[in-house]
């Protein structure tokens, strides 16, 4: 299964949010596509991102690296990167790497869009 990506803009109480819906497998082969997408969004001025991972079947450390890279980029513009994930097997990877402390992880896109710091 390849990686699928789609983006849409949603307005929330804290302003506009760009939701990136990711599906399929994020691994060493597909992660560069996700990286390009995140870089492009930030270059285009979208600094508040919500990455919806509900459709992700597989995530490895390469994918984690891309998400951390995305976070670094949006933070450079005082932005935010929130994740939406309910899948235990994906959450586990964030937990064992300690990244649950780095990323705000929400159960729904609505909740992530509504969140303000």
């Amino acid at each position: 299964m390849d990686l699928s990506l789609s983006t849409r803009n949603v307005s929330g109480p804290g302003g506009d949010r760009t939701v990136v819906e990711v599906g399929g497998e994020i691994d060493v082969y597909t992660a560069p596509k996700l990286r390009e997408q995140l870089v492009e969004l930030v270059n285009d001025g979208s600094y508040h991102l919500v990455v919806d991972m509900e459709g992700v079947d597989f995530l490895d450390s390469t994918g984690l690296g891309v998400l951390v890279g995305g976070l670094k980029r949006v933070r450079a513009h005082e932005g935010s990167l929130r994740l939406v994930c309910n899948q235990e097997r994906i959450l586990k990877i964030f937990r064992i790497t300690g990244l649950t402390k780095v990323f705000p992880i929400h159960t729904t896109v609505d909740e992530a869009v509504a969140a303000t710091d």
């Binding site: 990286r35 450390s61 984690l64 891309v66 064992i96 790497t97």
Partner: protein
């Protein structure tokens, strides 16, 4: 004796194949269903790391994956062709910046990924051994099997 042995050229697109094969052989060997996700992830991490090492060191030899079904456990060995620094204990220095960040792993994220890969493996797998020798580095992981499940 190895149950299944796989060799693939150090291309990122083949890592998925290695994951699928490893999970299929592990299932047949009687590794618990609940653990198969961990097997898939761990072997993917080890292979991604080996692919990265081969590419950054300009090694053309294939990455080697050996899947072995034993009486009470199932083991996976992922071997890279990088001598010395290869699987080096902890692997902290394995992603030497010399060429690791070239090509498609631009962006400076590559180094962190290598360490994160090992962090994921050690967080997932209880029985894991990282060694380095004249033939290159090897990550060896094993999981207990339930022989009752192995019967068709």
């Amino acid at each position: 004796m190895a149950t299944v042995e796989l060799r693939f050229s150090a291309q990122p697109e083949h890592v998925r194949t290695a994951r699928l094969v490893a999970a299929a052989v592990a299932r047949r060997a009687g590794v618990d269903e609940a653990v198969l996700d961990e097997v898939r992830l761990a072997v993917g991490e080890a292979c991604s790391r080996a692919v990265g090492l081969h590419r950054s060191h300009g090694i053309t030899a294939p990455v080697r994956v050996v899947l072995t079904e034993e009486e009470k456990n199932f083991s996976i060995e992922v071997g890279d062709g990088v001598t010395g620094t290869g699987g080096g204990a902890g692997g902290a220095d394995s992603g030497t910046p010399d060429g690791a960040s070239s090509g498609d792993l631009h962006d400076g994220d590559a180094e962190g990924e290598d360490e994160m890969g090992l962090a994921v493996i050690s967080g997932l797998v209880d029985d894991v051994e990282v060694t380095s020798g004249d033939d290159g580095g090897v990550i060896r992981m094993s999981w207990p099997t339930n022989p009752a499940v192995a019967m068709p």
